[in-house]
């Protein structure tokens, strides 16, 4: 991924500098993570996560996403298959979610 080539990421693939994030980078990470092309439904979740992180300073947990963005659990797991917890945070340019629920 050319767009990802120039930015610094940690071993797990999270952005080191949150300011590096932009929509192209999100799209490139999504492809890398096996999420595929980002649709409006994906963006609704990503934007909720970014907004939530502005207020709290950390990436939201899955339940905070389903409750806050009004997305059913099934849909969240379909949109971001095989482990949405880290994938959503990574694509949103945030750190690992803190909290267990």
């Amino acid at each position: 991924m050319s767009v990802l080539g120039t930015i610094e990421r940690n071993q797990e693939g999270f952005l080191v500098n949150p300011n590096d994030w932009n929509k192209d980078i999100a799209a490139a990470i999504a492809v890398e993570e096996g999420v595929g092309n980002l649709t409006a439904d994906h963006w609704k979740i990503i934007e909720f996560c970014r907004e939530s992180a502005v207020n709290s300073g950390v990436a939201p947990t899955l339940r905070q996403i389903t409750k806050g963005a009004g997305v059913p659990t099934k849909e969240l797991f379909t949109l971001f298959p095989k482990g949405p917890a880290k994938k959503v945070a990574k694509i949103s340019g945030l750190g690992k979610p803190e909290g267990c629920v």
Partner: protein, 167 residues
């Protein structure tokens, strides 16, 4: 990828409120990390998926040495709840209410909602055949999301290669 996905199976054998949560919390975390999850409810653990029993899950102070008086807001350090006090009618309900309140404060969902989340996220929920027969239960007694009643041998087949956690 030909490699098999990681799979964690939880055997839930206890029906106390505090023993219902470990599998729910770890199972949810596993699903969030892309790990396959199976929950097998056996013996008292069936209360967790039993529609009538699930809202009645409780925690009892009797014989629970970890329950200290200061959890009730009385600054008594490490002093436990005297066993004689634990048997006073209402103490179990009181302890249960207290625990549920702490869970709400931490934004931890109630057991029923948690199970729904797990099932929606793709966890496989099964009830143990022998326990079901012993307690005279049927699929109608269980919450949505429970896939079927399976034997111990079925469970072994269903969890081949999985990591097993007994609770």
């Amino acid at each position: 990828m030909t490699e098999k996905n990681r799979h964690v199976a939880f055997i839930c054998s206890k029906g106390n409120l505090d023993m219902a949560y470990p599998a729910l919390i770890m199972g949810w975390a596993a699903l969030g990390n892309g790990i396959d999850v199976t929950l097998f409810f056996t013996f008292w653990g069936l209360d967790i998926i039993n529609k009538k029993r699930q809202p009645q899950l409780k925690i009892a102070p009797v014989a629970n040495t970890s329950m200290k008086m200061d959890m009730m807001g009385i600054p008594t350090g490490n002093l436990g709840i005297p066993q004689a006090m634990g048997i006073i009618p209402g103490m179990t309900s009181f302890a249960t209410t207290l625990m549920k309140k702490k869970m709400v404060d931490l934004e931890v969902p109630p057991v029923g909602e948690y199970l729904e989340m797990l099932s929606d996220a793709g966890a496989n929920l099964y009830a143990c055949k022998m326990s079901v027969d012993m307690m005279g239960l049927t699929m109608d007694d269980f919450v949505d999301g429970v896939k079927s009643i399976v034997t111990a041998s079925d469970f072994m087949d269903l969890t081949e290669g999985a990591q097993i956690v007994f609770i």
